[in-house]
């Protein structure tokens, strides 16, 4: 896949790139060609190898095999970031500016002219001229931390261009922007393209790919799948290229499919509402959302983190405080933004990242499975015997593979670690279980067990909410709400096709026509 045109005319040309991390192959002989002035989209689901390619294309990471040329010339040696910056730069999702310094200084970070003392007025004038040249309306004397995300991105783009880069990689640039910001960003990018700047645009939102880009490249499972002009490519085909293998017969697929069949075979749950959210909104994260989870039901909330789905899960758990709306459990209102009250009300929570929020790795299975906030003995005493006994019960019922309650959690496999987190969420016998990406980074069999546990919780007459963008997680659900840019874009029962749901998560829905972005952010 050396690309149709000779490498000489390409702004960036990569071919045969292989990158391995231990046993994992992150990139398997992939290629990419970006022409000058082109807007090229790179799409693919999580783990497709997009971010590894970015690190290779910016000279941060040396590939195990393959070749990169920039404007027809061999790329500078890997690790010489300064030389790479003159050709290609990346605006990351995380901020790469120094927040305490002014905009002017960030623009010229470590590029102050000469070795003489810095002349601040001159530097600010140059910064002002530079920003005006690219039409960025930001005062160069402002501190960067006071800028909005949008302004910060413009400053980073201006900095990249002023280093001489004619190709800019944008890694999920719209993830933190509202609709107006996205529109302004796109206008700016089109202007810059007219000046001959090429963009490599990485996004989870296919709608944006169609709006902005000429060419799209799809990666799947570390491999190159297709490169085609956007105009001639139907959306369904694009989604199919991203997901094709996920409908195949992997063990997880079959197991979860069986789960779905079970869910489909059952009569619709008839229980009363357990968890209810009305007009729930968090400014900057998601718009007003209504949702109800009934007893005996597993509700799926489908959407990438950027869609606000994780934020909704965290709001329900009391980790975030909503700016509007109420949450009730069995008719009782839960105090906003308070984890103890959420627990008290009967909301069990499985956090999205077990390493970050879920576990204390050096401590034992027993300790991790027992909520610290919970008083196991009288007067708040934590009785080791009770802790162990509780843990033993959980190890049995959740089938946690461990040498015993005393084993440190760090010694367990990912799937079993996750079961410990679930055990703690279930420790207080919650009325509703909220699980955010419960199967992230676990093996296939544990995946089935974990989803089975969630299913079982609902079958016992309680309620469960799964927040995830993994299709396998969503197969066990009785109902799935697809979230896009903080709003519910579509609702499905048990009958949905992979492509349908992925399209809804990417902001392309048949039933809503052309949803694009929410008209305004939350009040």
């Amino acid at each position: 896949m050396t690309g149709p045109q000779p490498a000489g005319t390409a702004a960036v040309h990569a071919e045969g790139i292989v990158k391995r991390y231990g046993a994992t192959v992150a990139l398997d002989g992939v290629g990419l060609t970006v022409r000058p002035g082109e807007a090229h989209a790179l799409v693919g689901r999580n783990g497709a190898g997009k971010s590894t390619l970015v690190s290779v294309l910016t000279g941060m990471n040396r590939p195990d095999a393959g070749r990169v040329t920039l404007h027809g010339r061999p790329a500078p040696p890997f690790g010489d970031t300064e030389a790479w910056r003159g050709h290609i730069a990346c605006v990351y999702q995380r901020s790469m500016v120094v927040p305490e310094l002014t905009v002017a200084e960030n623009l010229f970070l470590n590029r102050f002219p000469g070795t003489r003392p810095i002349r601040w007025p001159a530097l600010r004038r140059r910064a002002g001229a530079l920003l005006r040249e690219y039409g960025v309306d930001v005062d160069p004397a402002r501190r960067t931390r006071d800028l909005t995300v949008e302004q910060r991105q413009f400053v980073e783009i201006a900095r990249a261009l002023s280093c001489g880069a004619r190709t800019v990689i944008l890694d999920e640039p719209t993830a933190q922007l509202d609709a107006g910001g996205i529109a302004r960003l796109f206008t700016k990018l089109r202007e810059l393209r007219a000046q001959g700047v090429a963009f490599l645009f990485i996004s989870h939102h296919l709608q944006e790919v169609y709006e902005l880009c000429d060419t799209v490249t799809v990666y799947r499972d570390a491999r190159h799948v297709l490169t085609e002009p956007v105009a001639g490519l139907p959306r369904r085909e694009l989604v199919a290229a991203m997901t094709a293998q996920e409908t195949g017969g992997s063990a997880a697929g079959e197991g979860a499919a069986a789960g779905r069949a079970a869910a489909a075979g059952r009569a619709a749950p008839e229980g009363g509402p357990v968890l209810r959210a009305r007009g729930l909104a968090l400014r900057g994260a998601y718009g007003p959302v209504d949702l109800t989870v009934r007893a005996g039901e597993v509700l799926g909330l489908a959407g990438a983190t950027a869609s606000g789905s994780t934020a909704i899960g965290e709001t329900l758990a009391g980790l975030r405080r909503q700016t509007a709306g109420t949450v009730t459990v069995r008719g009782r209102t839960v105090r906003p933004g308070s984890v103890p009250h959420a627990l008290e009300a009967g909301i069990g929570y499985v956090p999205k990242d077990r390493h970050l929020q879920g576990l204390v790795p050096q401590r034992s299975v027993a300790e991790n499975a027992t909520p610290v906030a919970d008083q196991l003995g009288r007067w708040g005493a934590v009785l080791p015997s009770r802790t162990r006994e509780f843990a033993r019960r959980m190890i049995g019922s959740l089938d946690i593979k461990t040498s015993g309650p005393r084993q440190p959690v760090s010694g367990l496999s990912g799937g079993n670690q996750q079961k410990v987190v679930v055990a703690r969420a279930l420790a207080r016998d919650p009325g509703v279980l909220v699980a955010v990406r419960p199967t992230a980074g676990v093996d296939v069999t544990s995946k089935d067990t974990l989803l089975g546990i969630v299913r079982e919780v609902a079958d016992q007459g309680r309620a469960a909410l799964i927040v995830s963008d993994e299709l396998d997680d969503l197969r066990v659900c009785d109902r799935v709400l697809a979230l896009f840019h903080g709003r519910i874009a579509a609702e499905y029962g048990t009958e949905w096709s992979d492509q349908e749901l992925v399209a809804a998560m990417e902001g392309i829905t048949g039933q809503h026509g052309h949803p694009g972005h929410p008209e305004e952010s939350a009040p």
Partner: protein, 348 residues
């Protein structure tokens, strides 16, 4: 000294709506004055001193205050640079004591007085040796933090204790009184009616302030402390610079040791003991962020002066010395709260 690192705000003439510009300007001014937040505190302390005692506003008293500020001030200067890089160095306080001791041990004769040196090197080398010892200590801290990647707080805590032990061991737990003349000169000389130590300290502060505000490497320290990843991506050699700063901080602490030893004409076994708390307090109330990337040396200097003025005013006001420690702690907390609200930002 007007070397604040925040460049002065400037009016822009790019037709934006006035309201927007108004708010942007207000914010800049706020950030700019942040480093001066202790100046009113110093003025109030001066007023209290004036009311409390007629002896306060005399040349002798005020010179005494600044003279006593020099040693603490140099340690704070070193720590401020290290903190701006986002690092920490607790061992500065024992460097203050051990660097002069090692230097004297190497140059003083092996007989003739109570303290037996090695007499290996000529006496005129005392000052260069002392500074070199300080730099070596800083460089060792840098090796631990940057090469071995151990926790800087604990590594320098270990260094603090170890160097204190070296000091006590070499001096056999006793004061050393036969101080080299060069030390004595720097600690006691007056230039133009003002102690030489004060001139030197001001000079170093001015140099550091200008370096941080106007030199490429000085600005790089803020980038390293503020966002190390961005600094590295911008081509700044973060480790090398941090290492240099740690060595410089050690050198400054050793220089403070020379001035202190010269001023009092002896090195006691406990020289510098417990200073590090004052040093941290002065730096933080002076607006240096503990997480790096924030603050100016001018702010740090106001922090030092505030702490020293409080002690002076209390002494003149007849506060029993037994209560000094209590009030010292209380004033640190009060000054911290004042600077937090004057700065308008959380100190995390």
């Amino acid at each position: 000294m007007t070397d604040t690192a925040q460049p002065p705000a400037r009016e822009l003439t790019d037709g934006r709506e006035p309201e927007h510009r108004e708010s942007a300007r207000a914010r800049i001014d706020f950030a700019r004055w942040r480093d001066l937040s202790l100046v009113p505190v110093i003025l109030v302390l001066g007023l209290i001193g004036f009311i409390v005692s007629p002896a306060f506003l005399t040349t002798d008293n005020l010179l005494g205050v600044v003279q006593q500020s020099t040693e603490l001030g140099l340690l704070v200067l070193g720590l401020a640079l290290v903190l701006i890089c986002g690092r920490m160095d607790l061992s500065l306080e024992s460097t203050l004591g051990v660097a002069p001791v090692v230097a004297m041990w190497l140059v003083l004769p092996s007989d003739g007085s109570r303290f037996h040196g090695l007499g290996l090197l000529p006496t005129w080398l005392a000052i260069p040796l002392c500074l070199a010892v300080g730099a070596l200590i800083g460089a060792t801290n840098g090796f631990l933090m940057l090469k071995l990647r151990v926790n800087g707080f604990i590594a320098t805590l270990g260094m603090l204790t170890m160097l204190r032990g070296l000091h006590v061991g070499l001096s056999e737990g006793q004061s050393i009184v036969n101080v080299p003349d060069s030390f004595r000169y720097l600690g006691r000389a007056d230039w133009l009616g003002v102690p030489a130590a004060v001139w030197l300290c001001l000079l170093l502060y001015a140099a550091a302030g200008l370096f941080l505000a106007y030199m490429r490497h000085g600005r790089a320290l803020y980038a390293i402390g503020g966002n190390p990843e961005a600094a590295r991506a911008a081509g700044i050699r973060t480790d090398r610079l941090t290492w240099a700063v740690l060595a410089l901080a050690g050198t400054l602490a050793a220089f403070a040791g020379i001035l202190y030893t010269g001023h009092y004409g002896s090195v006691s076994a406990g020289q510098g003991d417990g200073w590090i708390f004052q040093v941290f307090a002065a730096a933080v109330i002076g607006g240096i962020g503990l997480r790096g990337g924030r603050g100016t040396v001018f702010g740090a200097l106001t922090g030092v002066l505030t702490l020293q003025l409080v002690v002076n005013v209390m002494t003149l006001g007849g506060v029993p010395p037994l209560w000094n420690q209590f009030l010292n702690g209380a004033i640190i907390i009060v000054a911290l709260v004042i600077s937090r609200f004057a700065g308008g930002e959380r100190q995390e």
